[in-house]
Structure formats: structure tokens, C-alpha cells
């Protein structure tokens, strides 16, 4: 039986865990292009070597991160997600995108239109 160390619950049989996919740093949500978002959400590197992955301890529904070498299948370390996600992210759009009013035309154009 393979074993995995859960940062909350300690060393457990691998059958208690569920794989949750590769971890990718999230792009800046205010600056990212559609292409970058699509890469982040749908595409995976599937790299040969050391990768960071999401794992979940099913019995406690605890999600954490693991560094694993995909060539040797050795887990190098596991750590709580709070090591990376240590501050709140508010998904506020850029200020110009929040305004619903039509953009103001340049002053000169307005003056010309009114005259």
C-alpha cells in the first residue's frame, strides 16, 4: 500500500486520498487575456519531473498540495494550501469595466456637436 502524509491527518493509506489535478498559479484576473484564462482553466502541462498537485483527504474533505516527482512517483513533500493561498482575493473588475455609462466624447467633439 502506498502511503501519503496529509498535513492535517498525518500518514494515511493512499486509498483515503483523491487526486485533484495540477496546481497552476492563477493569472492576474484583471490583466489576463482569454487565452491565458483558457490555459489556466483547461490545459495541463503533464510535465515529467517535479510538479505540484492538488490532493484531497476524502475522510476529512481536506484539500492540500503535494510536490511529486512524476518520473519516480516519489512524493517529496505535502503542505497546506494556506502556504500559497495566504490572502483573500476579491474578484473586482478593472474600474473602467464597472462603468455602464457610455464613454464621454472628447470636449472638443461635444462642443462641435452642440454648436
Amino acid at each position: 500500500m502506498k502511503l501519503l502524509t496529509c498535513p492535517l491527518n498525518g500518514l494515511r493509506n493512499i486509498t483515503e486520498f483523491t487526486y485533484g489535478g495540477e496546481y497552476h498559479p492563477m493569472p492576474d484576473h484583471q490583466q489576463a487575456s482569454s487565452r491565458e484564462w483558457a490555459e489556466h482553466v483547461f490545459f495541463h502541462d503533464n510535465a515529467a519531473g517535479v510538479v505540484i498537485e492538488w490532493w484531497c483527504h476524502s475522510a476529512s474533505s481536506y484539500w492540500f498540495l503535494a510536490e511529486r516527482n512524476t518520473i519516480s512517483d516519489k512524493i517529496l513533500r505535502t503542505f497546506p494550501a494556506s502556504e500559497i493561498f495566504n490572502q483573500r482575493i476579491d474578484f473586482n473588475p478593472l474600474p473602467e469595466l464597472t462603468s455602464t455609462a457610455p464613454s464621454t466624447p472628447p470636449p472638443t467633439a461635444t462642443q462641435k456637436g452642440e454648436s
Binding site: 494515511r12 483515503e16 475522510a59 476529512s60
Partner: protein
Amino acid sequence: MSSSIDIATTALRRSQLYRRHIEMGAVFEPLSDGTAGDSAVVCHYGTNNQEQELTQAQHLGLADLSTLPRMGFKGLGAPDWAAAQGIQLPAQPNQATLQTDGTLVARLSQSELLLASNLNGLSESIESIAKTTQSARNSELPERVYSLPRSDSHSWLVLCGSRAAETLAKVCGVDLRPHKFANGEVAQTSIAKINGVLVRNDLGETLSYCIFSDSSSVEFLWDSLHDAMAEFKGAAIGIQALRDC
């Protein structure tokens, strides 16, 4: 006997295992917990007298406490809020502590708590919190505190007696022997392939483990534990034997 079965079948809250209990000749006692309405719990089985059930509990017994009150909370604000309610919290995750009124408080992570009543179905903390939360759901809870109702989602079994650790060794990968797993420790793990929260909560001198698991699969867990207990001559016991321990 028939009036006892009536209590079990007409009570507002029934254990998911009540048909099993009736088949086994259980004698029920009514329980009014003040939070979840009238319910019934197995007092003892068949013609067992109090002493026989106590002897069984001290050797190896399995009891179903699923109709007793319990609740949970989660969120970054939950530990501070619970402490403000007068609840004594375990310092570390995966530890449990008993309150003065016998309420079991298990800390499942830094910010998640599970509360279970005493063996008379009473708990001052659960009752007072239930009063504030039942009327308006979560709205009266402070920010970053979320209620996790456990009464319906989770069953509550108690496996006790000197052979309890050997029984669990057959169905669980965690070393739960008394010298490795101290009283008050919590293991969130797989028990007979069913995910559950296991709390060592000794009854006096009697080794005892509370098992909280998904209620929809508790019949399987009940049967699996009986299967594992058979080797050590374990049997189902009622709540009175636990009180007598």
C-alpha cells in the same frame, strides 16, 4: 415489548438502523432532547439484564446513538465564537475534549468543530446554540461562522470494550490501540471503507470509540462491525450499558 417498538416507529426522529434494532429484539426508551424533537434510543436488547449488557460493554459492544443530538460549525470565526459561547476547545486539530455537562467537542481542523451530547441526550451548549440558530438558520451566526448540521447527515455509533481496538484493526488502517491512540484523540479515516470521524472517548475505565459516519451507509458499517466483532464475541448493546460503564 410492543409499546417499546411503538416508541421507535412513531418518534419524530428515528435511527437509520431502527429496523435492525427491532429485528434484534431491542427495547427502546424515549428521549426528548429539546432540540430535534422526540426520539427513541435502544435501552437494551432482548431479555438481557443490566448486568449482562454491562459485562458485554466491558468486553466488546456496539451501540447506536444516532438519535442523540449533535451539531457542527466551520469557518475562520468558528473557534473564537465557540469560545465566546463558553465552550472549552481542544488546542489542536484532531483532538476532543469533554465539557462539564458531558458534551463531547471534537476539533476536526483549525476551524471546524463537532459537538455531541452526553448519554442522556442533553447538552447545554447544543441546546443554547440550537435556540439561536434554529429560528433564523445561519443569519444569527456571526461572520465567518457556518453551521454544519450533523444530526441527519451523520450516524453515531459507539464501539467499546477491551477488544474494541482489535476489532477496529480489522477494518481501519490507523493504529488505534490504546497505547498509540490516547483518550481524546480524533482520527478522520476510512472504517470498513466508509469515511468517518473516530473519537476515542473512554467511558470510565472502559475503552470506547465514537464513530460518526455518513448516515446513508450506516447499515453497511453496522453489519461490517458486527462481522468484525464476531471473532471476539462482540454484540450489540443498549445505551444503558454505556451509562453504567
